[in-house]
Amino acid sequence: MDFINHQLFIKDINVHIDPILPKKTAIITHGHADHARFGHDHVIATRETIDIMKIRYGDKCAKKFTPLRYGQKYSIKNYDFTLYPAGHILGSAQVLIEKNNHRLVITGDYKVGKDETCKNFKLVKCDTLITEATFGLPIFQHPDPKDEIQKLIRSVKINKNNCHIVGAYALGKAQRVMNLLRQQKYNETIYIHGSLEKLCQYYSKEKINIGKFEKVSSKDKSFYEGKIIIAPPSALKDRWSRRFPNPIICMASGWMTVKQRAKQQGIELPLVISDHSDWNELLDTIKKSKAKNILITHGQEDALVYYCKKQNLVSKPLSIQGRSDEEIE
């Protein structure tokens, strides 16, 4: 396992996983901005992740792209790479690295629960597991997302003169919220912030059921009464949100588990919908992977390291620069 360092860099063959700065060869787990960056020479990722990078950064955001199917092996010298579904967002992948019979898995961001907007997580057995720990505390036990989305639907029914603005990350979470609404038979047009448009179109094109959506435009205020609007979290506090009639501010995020967090951010209707594993899923994955060596990246790593050590697993935190807790999802 000494072939990869704490920056997820394999010096031997000059390959990085999810590097922050432009590099020669970068394996990208998924399209979120803290993982997928502009300017690498060679990007290796799933087709969907490459598509998303091109949508966000332009067709020339890397010099060369190598799309991999899930399960397809790709070798560089004596290193074999295989991507497996991570269940995080469309195109998200775990990276299995095999060298001299040692199997190392980098989970990237992942969730175990069901999600119609992407391929579901596949457990990969390994010797070394590098897992994320965004919600690595036992207080995080995500509820059924269906119940959470029902809260939104109920509130829309009761508060007919208000509009509901749902804060959700532009890539992945926004489309998941839309899909969950459709699963629960909410068939109205969903209104979206302009920054979501291209990604929503892409999801539609990939045949993910997000239903009918329309970009918010400068219509009469009263038009948005009773409507659901989805916007990136940053827009909630922006002047942008003031154009709507009596908005009820909602947020779809795993962080919404904690009332005090919701309150601090001025969220009136918190929806605990997460694209990361909760505590029990993290423990379960660690156990089922059969790995003896557990490295824990960004998030609440302390508690998870403590837990692993108690299970007699070799474990330590891996601090990856440029990613502080609570900025990600």
Partner: protein, 522 residues
């Protein structure tokens, strides 16, 4: 219970005052006994003394690993919420009524409290569990003041809120007389005011720039603001009792007051330690605080007396509608009639202009006076912190520059931010901590400090982060005492962050010897 816990949940997340009132009113429209329980809880009149935070920790440690709990608590910053989330079960069981639940808790025998309470907590959903713990420990902190609860009730039944306020302390659970009156079924409840603790009249800080231009000095009188604890003394031929500012009966802790006062009155004053009406400082008073009883020895070493500011009742007569200068005459009369070595009167400072008063304010006794009080001569005795009547003008705080050493996450409103700061001064080539502060900074400064801490952590001790020694904080504090409990040998009173000194290099910060010399600590 489900209804009440979703009320609390919604109240905590609703920023708008009007919406909060609406939520409260929707709840109070229910006509059964549950709303009386809700009112008692919301107005902080119901709590379970035998269920303390430490008891709840004990229970949760039986359920989950202690370290994992501590990591989580550090992250969440709220005990009730941490326990409610980390508890291994989360089911929407068949919920009990709020009233049944509370009566059941009251009935729990002390010997069975752990098992009974654990069982109860296991039967609830997260949100109900959170509510139950909040009820048990008291002090909801959901951004709803008692005033707001009263306003909601008043508006709902179209009564003036002041009328509710007036009778409030005389009301008792289950408030039948209140609700009947609100619904116009009976007349206003009759309250025996003499026997009640009366909410105290409080002062607002003066805004030197604005207020002195606006206010007419001749309409005001000034008194020294003594550094003791504010008390209300109720004397009658039958009994004497002493109350703290929050209405707690503290009679048993100060027997010499109870035994040596007579007359028939309700007095507002400051409790101080000292002999022959010569106060000896807050440090001495501290020896008498937070004790249920006082030994003869303690009474002898640290005798207390009351410096009277005001009088609310005299021989059964309610004086609260009189003006301050009129009440003062009654106060003087009371004191003359009931001479004792336990009560003297607060001196009235005579001044003609604000400039003249400034001289007094700049010559205050270092240890004894916190500042001066400025009171409108024509002020009725109004409970609470009403604007425009009484002002406090605090003396300038002491200031020292110190280096940020450690930080910890805050609680409540500031949870998740690194907002508790430990700072120190030099001791040879090392730093020694002299205090800890968690207020005083602006929201902007907090964000800057939080970011600095996250990016410049050099070491972690559990929840505490050690940081690069680069940031100088100008710390304001009221006082500093020698202390054998602290490594530095000093303990500060009410330290807060005054500002961040970006301009100053760390080597210009004082040494502990210089610090002690400057603030005259032996």
């Amino acid at each position: 219970m489900k209804k009440f816990s979703s009320l609390l949940h919604n109240l905590i997340l609703t920023p708008s005052r009007n919406n909060k009132i609406k939520l409260l009113q929707d709840y109070f429209k229910i006509l059964d006994i549950n709303r009386a329980y809700a009112l008692a809880i919301l107005s902080d009149q119901l709590s379970f003394q035998f269920i303390k935070a430490s008891k709840l920790r004990e229970l949760v440690y039986e359920q989950v690993d202690q370290h994992l709990f501590d990591y989580s608590y550090d992250y969440v910053g709220d005990l009730a919420e941490t326990i409610s989330l980390i508890w291994p079960t989360n089911k929407e069981g068949k919920s009990q009524n709020l009233s049944t639940l509370i009566e059941n808790i009251k009935k729990i025998k002390k010997s069975e409290i752990n098992t009974e309470l654990s069982q109860l907590l296991s039967q609830l959903s997260n949100n109900e569990r959170w509510t139950l713990i909040k009820i048990c420990t008291g002090g909801l902190r959901i951004g709803v003041s008692q005033r707001l609860v009263k306003t909601a009730l008043a508006d709902l039944y179209k009564k003036p809120v002041n009328e509710i306020e007036e009778i409030w302390h005389g009301l008792e659970f289950p408030y039948e007389n209140l609700f009947q009156w609100l619904r116009n079924e009976t007349s206003k409840p009759k309250i025996d005011f003499k026997k009640l603790f009366h909410p105290m009249m409080l002062a607002n800080p003066i805004d030197e720039e604005r207020d002195f231009k606006r206010l007419n000095a001749s309409e005001f009188q000034a008194e020294y603001k003594w550094d003791g604890i504010r008390v209300q003394l109720m004397v009658s031929s039958k009994s004497v009792s002493l109350y703290s500012r929050t209405g707690d009966n503290i009679s048993s802790a100060f027997p010499e007051i109870i035994e040596n006062t007579k007359g028939d009155a309700v007095i507002d004053g400051e409790l101080l330690v000292g002999r022959n009406f010569k106060p000896s400082g807050f440090n001495d008073l501290q020896q008498r605080l937070n004790r249920k009883k006082a030994s003869k020895d303690l009474q002898e070493k640290f005798p207390v007396f009351i410096r009277a500011y005001d009088i609310l009742f005299y021989k059964g007569k309610d004086l609260r509608k009189l003006f301050l200068y009129e009440r003062r005459k009654y106060l003087e009369k009371f004191q003359k009639e009931n001479k004792t070595n336990k009560i003297d009167l607060s001196l009235i400072i005579k001044f003609k202009t604000w400039k003249e008063l400034t001289k007094y304010k700049n010559n205050l006794h270092d240890d004894l006076n916190e500042g001066v009080m400025i009171k409108l001569k024509n002020s009725e005795y109004l409970p609470g912190r009403k604007k425009g009547y009484w002002y406090k003008w605090k003396k300038n705080p002491k200031l020292v520059d110190a280096i940020l050493m450690y930080a910890q996450r805050g609680h409540g409103k500031r949870s998740s931010y690194y907002s508790d700061f430990t700072f120190g001064v030099w001791k040879e080539n090392e730093l020694v901590p002299i205090g800890k502060a968690y207020s005083g900074y602006t929201d902007k400064e907090l964000l800057v400090l939080d970011k600095f801490i996250r990016n410049n952590t050099t070491n972690k001790f559990g929840p505490v982060r050690e940081v690069k020694k680069e940031i100088i904080l100008e710390v304001a504090f009221d006082d500093v005492f020698p202390s054998s409990r602290h490594k530095s040998g000093v303990a500060m009173r009410f330290p807060r962050i005054h500002r961040i000194r970006w301009d100053k290099p760390t080597n210009e910060v004082l040494s502990i010897e210089e610090f002690k010399k400057e603030f005259k600590i032996g």
